[in-house]
């Protein structure tokens, strides 16, 4: 059964459509990625799901019921990690967690136990009584994440949770996401870092300009694109005519260029045969190969193929 069901969600600001009819669902215990470049509509979607923005149209169902943002029951089901570092820098992590825990009705031993557990989970046990304002960006992000975990939500909404963090903290956060999903918590993970989404998500929804451009399991989406072999050469000469459909030619500066051989299974000949043929033509033309590199299929490539833009545009 789906924990979150979103249907035809729309939102506009000052006549500009930010979200144009998005529909998707998140099942219990599933980690779903919301991938798109900055300005694609991820944060607007997240804010509507968190109850911070009222949609112009569309419906949101959580746990089978229409989402009423003012209803405390729904608010307890949700854990939100906003893009901003929404913690008090003048308070320690323990004080921050205590305050937010109390807002969610946690008290006494239960609260203390949860704080200890979350501090352990986010790796801030030793710094629990230091002021959050003295922390590095990564540590603050971990605390920001911990606050959302404290009341044990059923659905965790993460909006760009790793922006500006060091690799160690990023790895820590991704491990924590995997860990909580193993406990049955559903996660909606918005990011424009496709490596992160590939690393933690089972399904991915790719959005651009407020619309879903692709959605499905990571493996399935990756199968829609392919890697390639790229050979940089010092001159192009008559390669275009001689290679024909075997490979694509990208013209570079100073007469040089790049020969691109797709690794897609749908290509006319196997890669091995095409590679052999290209190398023999290069030998005949006495063209020198300066570098060879392979590029694997990934969501970034898929996004590029679908939209003509990169995720970081």
């Amino acid at each position: 059964m789906s924990l979150l069901q979103v249907s035809d969600l729309r939102k506009s600001y000052d006549g500009r459509l930010a979200v144009r009819g998005i529909s998707f669902q998140v099942n219990a215990g599933e980690v779903v990625g919301l991938l798109g470049p900055n300005g694609a509509g991820k944060s607007t979607t997240m804010m509507m799901l968190a109850g911070l923005l009222r949609p112009d149209a569309g419906t949101i169902h959580i746990d089978g019921e229409p989402f009423v943002p003012t209803n405390a029951r729904f608010r307890r089901l949700l854990g939100v990690v906003p893009q901003d570092l929404a913690v008090y820098p003048e308070l320690t992590p323990r004080e921050n967690l205590t305050f937010f825990g109390r807002l969610y009705g946690l008290r006494g031993h239960e609260l203390e136990a949860r704080i200890a557990e979350v501090l352990e989970q986010i790796g801030l046990t030793r710094q629990a009584d230091d002021k959050a304002g003295t922390f590095s960006g990564g540590m603050k992000r971990r605390l920001n994440f911990g606050v959302a975990l404290l009341h044990q939500p059923k659905l965790l909404i993460l909006d760009e949770p790793t922006v500006g963090v060091d690799p160690q903290s990023r790895s820590h956060l991704l491990d924590a996401v995997r860990h909580i999903s193993e406990r049955g918590v559903s996660v909606l993970y918005a990011s424009h870092y496709m490596e992160e989404v590939e690393a933690v998500c089972e399904r991915v929804i790719i959005i651009d300009r407020g619309q879903i451009v692709a959605a499905g399991a990571v493996r399935e989406l990756l199968s829609r694109t392919a890697g390639d072999v790229r050979m940089s050469v010092d001159r192009i000469g008559t390669l275009s005519e001689r290679l024909g459909a075997l490979a694509a030619i990208e013209t570079g500066s100073n007469g040089g260029g790049t020969i691109v051989l797709s690794m897609a299974e749908t290509a006319a000949q196997p890669l091995c045969q095409r590679l052999t043929r290209v190398l023999s033509v290069l030998a005949e033309e006495q063209i020198e190969v300066k570098a060879i590199e392979t590029r694997e299929a990934n969501l970034e490539r898929l996004f590029l193929e679908l939209t003509g833009r990169t995720l970081r545009d």
Binding site: A50, R75, P82, D84, L85, V87, L91, F100, R102, L103
Partner: protein
């Protein structure tokens, strides 16, 4: 419980913000002290500045001259300094240590003995029409004391006549009989010890000297307490902005607490702070500056509480209106200072023109000042004036809270 949790958190944050605490608690005290010293001298509110400094030379030295000198020294409004010579008196005037000098000449006693009851009863047409000079007395004053100099001369003349009347009248048998009868009646009345009637409000203005405390601080402490209570608007707005800029406001918005609880939780810490601030200022006013809390000090509590409520809810409303730190500085400070200026925080309300006094009733400051004036400057307090002021302040508070709540909802959506 959510509101209380927010209150505790904000109080903790305030305790750690030393700059804000200094601004709220120490600054008003420093301000009141400085203004007390400076305006005390400039506005002539200091008690020593309210009396006329007079030098007195008694060259006669007889019992009647002594009696006149003693009577003058007991007059309210005169501070008599005895001198030994005219040169010494002139020297004091030159140094502006005294405003005027009274000379009782060596022939005073002889001149008095020549007076008849008729001279005393008709001083404007008899021998006394020459004034003090007929009694060998003279009043001289400094050039800067020109206007008041003749008033002092008249005062000295009247007081001297009052002292001389029994002596001159005693020489007349008929007058002596009337005087004896009047003395007996006075003794009877004193023995009867009639119950003193409680003064009515109309005859009780202002508070007697001994209960009045320091006049400057009696005015300054409530006025600047009100001013600084409303300066909370600035700090409250900044607190809301900080919450918004940090992103924690969103966390509060998605937490399972109502909007009312959240706004109440954000308002109460500043209400507590305001109560502490104003209580400290009144306590300091009493301990450091010798001000009086008036005849009904317990009535200060509802006035302070309702003023604090009005100030903090105005802070809430302002917080929902401003969008940046620079707007806080521009709008909130302008609002607070303008309201304080209109209402009479910078000068006594009775100095304001009538139209301004009426206009100022549109500010909570004015109602607070009216209540404080009633409590601190009257011998008998009219509770209805105090209660009406508190009621108005509570209405302001309710209005500000509702408007703030609506603004916040609109802002959220």
């Amino acid at each position: 419980m959510g509101a209380w949790d927010i209150t505790c958190k904000d109080l903790r944050l305030l305790m750690r913000d030393r700059r804000a605490l200094v601004m709220l608690l120490a600054l008003p005290l420093i301000f009141i002290t400085i203004l007390g010293f400076s305006t005390g001298q400039m506005a002539g509110w200091r008690e020593s500045n309210q009396v006329l400094q007079i030098a007195l030379l008694n060259e006669d030295g007889g019992p009647l001259a002594q009696q006149v000198a003693h009577s003058l020294s007991r007059r309210d409004g005169l501070q008599i300094t005895r001198v030994e010579s005219r040169e010494q008196a002139q020297d004091l005037m030159n140094r502006r240590d005294v405003n005027a000098a009274i000379y009782i000449g060596p022939n005073f006693h002889e001149q008095v003995e020549e007076l008849t009851l008729g001279d005393i009863l008709d001083p404007t047409n008899g021998v006394l029409k020459q004034g003090l000079s007929k009694l060998d007395m003279e009043v001289v004053h400094t050039p800067t004391f020109l206007t008041s100099g003749s008033l002092v001369a008249d005062l000295v003349f009247a007081d001297t006549l009052k002292t001389l009347v029994p002596h001159v009248a005693g020489k007349n048998a008929l007058a002596r009989r009337y005087m004896d009868r009047a003395r007996s009646r006075r003794i009877e009345l004193e023995n009867a010890e009639p119950e003193r009637e409680k003064p009515t409000r109309s005859e009780s203005l202002p508070l007697p000297e001994q209960q009045r405390g320091s006049l400057v601080y009696q005015q300054l402490v409530p006025a600047y307490t009100v001013l600084f209570m409303f300066f909370l608007v600035n700090i409250m707005s900044r607190s809301f902005l900080a919450e918004r800029d940090l992103g924690t406001l969103r966390r509060l918005q998605i937490a399972p607490i109502t909007r009312t609880a959240m706004l109440t939780g954000k308002t109460v810490p500043f209400l507590i702070l305001s109560l502490v601030q104003s209580s400290l200022l009144f306590l300091a006013g009493r301990l450091l500056y010798g001000m009086s809390w008036g005849p009904e000090p317990w009535l200060l509590i509802p006035v302070i509480a309702s003023t604090s409520l009005a100030a903090t809810t105005l802070g809430l409303l302002t917080a929902t209106l401003v969008k940046s730190e620079s707007q806080v500085s521009a709008y909130a400070n302008t609002l607070v200072i303008t309201m304080a200026g209109i209402s009479g925080c910078f000068m006594p309300r009775r100095w304001l023109p009538e139209a301004m006094q009426q206009l100022s009733l549109g500010t909570p400051h004015a109602w607070s000042l009216i209540a404080f004036d009633e409590l601190l400057a009257r011998e008998v307090v009219a509770p209805t004036i105090v209660y009406r002021s508190c009621g108005m302040l509570l209405l302001f508070a309710l209005g500000f809270f509702i408007l703030g709540w609506c603004r916040f909802r609109a802002w959220e959506e």
